[in-house]
Subunit: 183 residues, 2 copies
DNA sequence: TTCAAATAGTATCGAATCTAAACTTATTTG
DNA sequence: CAAATAAGTTTAGATTCGATACTATTTGAA
């Protein structure tokens, strides 16, 4: 009973709470836990450098032990598959099965935010302001990353891995992302 | 690996995840669970019709049994107090103790979103669009509620309870809130 | 080359939360 | 005034969470 309602933070809290309730409701209807849907959602938008237990753990802010368990559950139930990296055998790449994909499609349809796109630039600003203030890095799209190099028409190279990236690639989110100095 | 990144929903997810990580980090530093901080935050902005177990349960989307347990914990540790309603003895009103208030003050300072206010109207639009689509009601500020009546300078009356509301009152959030037809 | 340190991921244990259901107490309704 | 409803608590079982230890692999430095 200290404050009145009106700051950005409080409006955000309210939207977050409502959005999470929706997600939870959807998860329940699918017979899943909230965290499972969050994992599937992340896997549907991350790139091939960021589809690992460790990356999910960083993104969702939970320990990798906990994420590992949830992943085991998701794999058992046929929502994701795990493929060992050919170069670094410690690493396993995760991806959605057809089954997992269809959950995400149903979720998008269920949540269905069709509000105007004018909020997106505001969200980007907010995001990068939070990241700067708290020294977070990672989880942006290649397009705005300082490591991303445009080497000709629709051809890109990641400066970190020296690998070629397709037009599709550069619209996924990456755990190594660092914002270009001039936004 | 189905989608690329860019829709409103995906940007929201990203901001949500980051914000929740911040909240969790803060909660950990205070020796609290995330849900405890969320409850304290809610209690700091709700009005006197909405400071109950049931209302918190609706707001956070968790069962009242679960919330009841967390509230017991918070009361034991001196963050909140419980006062029985004089009229309806089933109801207990919850409020922050000095201790609880100071947690919320530290949280605001910690999160510290100083981005421009231009995002607030966008958030309001988003919120009301989600609420309409999913038939949710409740948890808005009296100021925009169809039950709220202005009866003279800075004097308001709630059409549901017929009680007087102060200028401070009408900026808190209420579980009975219904948007005025013309936004 | 060799061996210690670092990294990715899993397994395990105790604590805490979550849901669902039964339950208590109080209020409202017919 | 009995039955239905509502607010809140309690209980039990399942799940998650965090911490720690563990395996396997890679890196790096003497």
């Amino acid at each position: 009973m200290d404050d009145t309602f009106g700051t950005i933070s409080q409006w955000l809290e309210r939207v977050f709470a409502l959005h999470r309730n929706l997600m939870r409701q959807f998860a329940n209807e699918e017979g899943l836990q909230l965290v499972h849907v969050e994992i599937l959602q992340y896997l549907s938008v991350c790139n091939r450098y960021s589809d690992t237990t460790q990356a999910i753990s960083e993104y969702l802010g939970q320990t990798k032990g906990s994420i590992s368990q949830s992943l085991g559950n998701l794999e058992e139930n046929g929502f994701i598959r795990k493929i060992q990296d050919k170069v670094d055998k410690r690493v396993f790449h995760l991806s959605l099965t057809t089954n997992g994909s269809s959950v995400i499609k149903r979720m998008s349809k269920f949540i269905d935010l069709d509000s105007s796109d004018t909020i997106v630039p505001e969200l980007k600003l907010l995001l990068s302001s939070i990241q700067k203030k708290h020294g977070f890095r990672g989880f942006g799209i290649c397009k705005s990353c300082k490591f991303n190099q445009n080497v000709g028409q629709s051809n890109f190279v990641c400066g970190l891995t020296k690998e070629k990236l397709s037009l599709d690639d550069i619209h996924k989110i990456c755990k190594e992302h660092e914002e270009q100095s001039a936004i």
